[in-house]
């Protein structure tokens, strides 16, 4: 485990062409890390997230992605992710290959990845066209009952990036609140970057919270506000009004690019990004 700046962590662990998962189910989405990947101009990434959310809408719209593995690609409670749609419908700014799952299937694929099994198994995709659309969804006959069950190929990212409330100086990471598939995404990857709200001398007692031990973590990065406009339970709330505003910002290619230029590319780090947003509100 190393303590790195976000710039160093992305330079070290996210190369062009890499398979990268920025996880966090609505909660603790690593926006600061996604923005740094955009600033460093990464290309040809295979992006993995159950819910691409605004962060992948931004990365796809800025041309970082070649492929997307996902299970629900909307702006939660608002509507479409317009940049994702533009990439799939019009190949803008470049074509995007997709591996599309259901949530249950993608969760099973992460679990298999964490357990280092070749595939996950579930009673899923029953009589749906998804199993025809995604060649990674197949089936196996149960050796005990003879039942046909669906399988999904394991997900094993080169690098997973998470955001967490806190880490201690040794690099143990504690996450509480809605925990999504973070633990599975962490354990299925070759390298793990965790951005955190704060670094403390000692983690609070964490009964039932998820703790990722330091020897699983490649790098810890101090990044206060790093999940905004998603949220960090106990630190700040989800900015639902921003999620609603994103619909208009992202609908049009030009207004999207202008926003990204002003609020991401022109900012040297996440602190400046947050300052730039404060100036416009």
């Amino acid at each position: 485990m190393r303590h790195l700046s976000l710039t160093q962590a992305i330079e070290t662990f996210v190369q062009d062409g890499a398979c990268v998962a920025l996880e966090g189910f609505t909660h603790l989405i690593p926006f600061a890390a996604g923005h740094e990947i955009i600033r460093q101009g990464r290309r040809d990434l295979h992006l993995i997230r159950m819910t691409p959310d605004i962060i992948y809408d931004q990365m796809i719209g800025m041309g970082c992605a070649r492929r997307l593995t996902f299970s629900w690609g909307g702006n939660p409670g608002v509507g479409s992710l317009h940049r994702l749609r533009d990439a799939v419908e019009n190949s803008w700014p470049r074509p995007l290959e997709i591996d599309e799952h259901s949530h249950a299937g993608m969760a099973a694929a992460y679990c298999a990845g964490a357990a280092r099994l070749p595939f996950g198994v579930l009673r899923g995709y029953i009589d749906t066209d998804l199993s025809k659309a995604n060649s990674l969804v197949r089936s196996v006959r149960c050796p005990y009952t003879g039942e046909d069950l669906s399988t999904v190929r394991a997900i094993n990212p080169d690098t997973t990036v998470l955001h967490a409330q806190r880490a201690d100086r040794q690099g143990n990471v504690a996450i509480h609140g809605i925990v999504g598939a973070q633990k599975e995404a962490a354990l299925s990857a070759s390298a793990l970057i965790v951005t955190v709200e704060e670094i403390v001398d000692e983690l609070p007692p964490a009964m039932n919270a998820i703790v990722i031990p330091h020897w699983i973590v490649s790098a810890v990065v101090l990044s206060p506000g790093g999940a905004y406009p998603s949220y960090a339970h106990g630190c700040y709330a989800r900015d639902n009004a921003f999620y609603q505003r994103w619909d208009a910002i992202s609908r049009d290619r030009e207004s999207f690019r202008t926003w990204m230029q002003r609020h991401v590319l022109a900012c040297s780090d996440h602190r400046e990004h947050l300052v730039s947003l404060r100036e416009t509100v």
Binding site: F25, T26, H27, M50, T51, S71, W72, G73, G74, P76, G77, V78, S80, L84, R85, V88, E89, E100, H101, S102, H103, A104, A107, A108, Y110, L122, R123, G124, Y125, I126, D127, T128, D129, L130, A133, E147, D148, G177, I178, V179, G180, A181, K183, E184, E197, P224, G225, P229, C235, Y236, A237, R238, D239, N240, A241, F242, Q244, L277, R278, V281
Partner: protein
């Protein structure tokens, strides 16, 4: 003069179908409003599960996203996401699942993936999320959708979630454990599957809606029951609880969030 909207009546009609103590797998939007209306009126012990892993949640305002902090703070427990789908949903612990979609056909199969061909879609929709497995494993499902000939179609562009497949008992021969869609609640009334053919049939109308209006909104020749029930208008209590919930929610979603320092 009626003092309620058909959208409000859809929420009320969905809410009335839920019983005290029933375990509901809830989606965002109208289903979330219906489930919480039931909890705040006739079903105080209803158990609400959101796919973000919040079980037994009692939100004061409706969440904008499936994972708002409000859901975790008011939950009986919060479990990891793979567990929600494997132990709880696939494990057969859910009585009622709610589904919506962009397209539905006469056997209540659903499309929430694409309009047009999958490889070159005219409209790319958000996709499956939890729907295919909710459709398979909840003991029964309710579909909630506003009706138009563009959404209630003769032929789906893509089958994201299975209803009754081609009808005539086809679903019962698959490995899906749940009974499938038992009601489609729309903005003129309710369609339910006919016993043997499984084809959706108009069985209930909202107060003031007509059979002709219903037929005009459906993209296939709609079968109608011999006796169509007229559902009572929302009560004063239902309306005031629902409107207060929606007002609290709108206010909460507009509230500016303090940007992290």
């Amino acid at each position: 003069m009626k003092d309620w909207t058909y959208d409000e009546m859809m929420t009320v009609a969905a809410s009335r179908r839920l019983w005290d103590g029933c375990v509901c797998f809830v989606g965002i939007g109208l289903p979330s409003a219906a489930c919480n209306l039931a909890r705040l009126t006739h079903a105080p012990n209803i158990v609400l599960i959101y796919e973000s892993g919040t079980i037994g949640t009692r939100p004061d305002v409706l969440p904008l996203s499936i994972g708002d902090g409000e859901l975790a703070e008011t939950a009986a427990c919060v479990v990891p996401l793979p567990e929600v789908f494997s132990y709880w949903l696939q494990g057969g612990r859910v009585d009622v699942g709610f589904l919506g979609a962009a397209q539905i056909d006469r056997f209540a199969n659903l499309n929430s993936t694409v309009i047009g061909p999958y490889d070159a879609p005219r409209t790319r929709l958000p996709g499956a999320g939890g729907a295919p497995e909710i459709a398979a494993h909840a003991r029964q499902t309710f579909v909630v959708m506003r009706a138009s000939p563009r959404s209630f179609v003769d032929q789906l562009d893509f089958r994201t979630s299975a209803g009754f497949l081609e009808g005539n008992g086809a679903r019962a021969r698959t490995s899906a454990r749940g009974a499938g869609p038992q009601a489609v609640i729309t903005d003129f009334g309710v369609l339910t599957p006919a016993p043997h053919t499984n084809e959706l049939m108009l069985t209930a109308l909202f107060h003031g809606a007509t059979v002709e209006g219903a037929r005009a909104a459906i993209g296939w020749p709609l079968a109608t029951a011999a006796d169509i029930e007229i559902l009572p208008a929302p009560t004063a209590d239902e309306l005031s609880v629902l409107r207060a919930l929606n007002a609290r929610t709108a206010e909460a979603h507009r509230r500016p969030v303090e940007l992290p320092a």
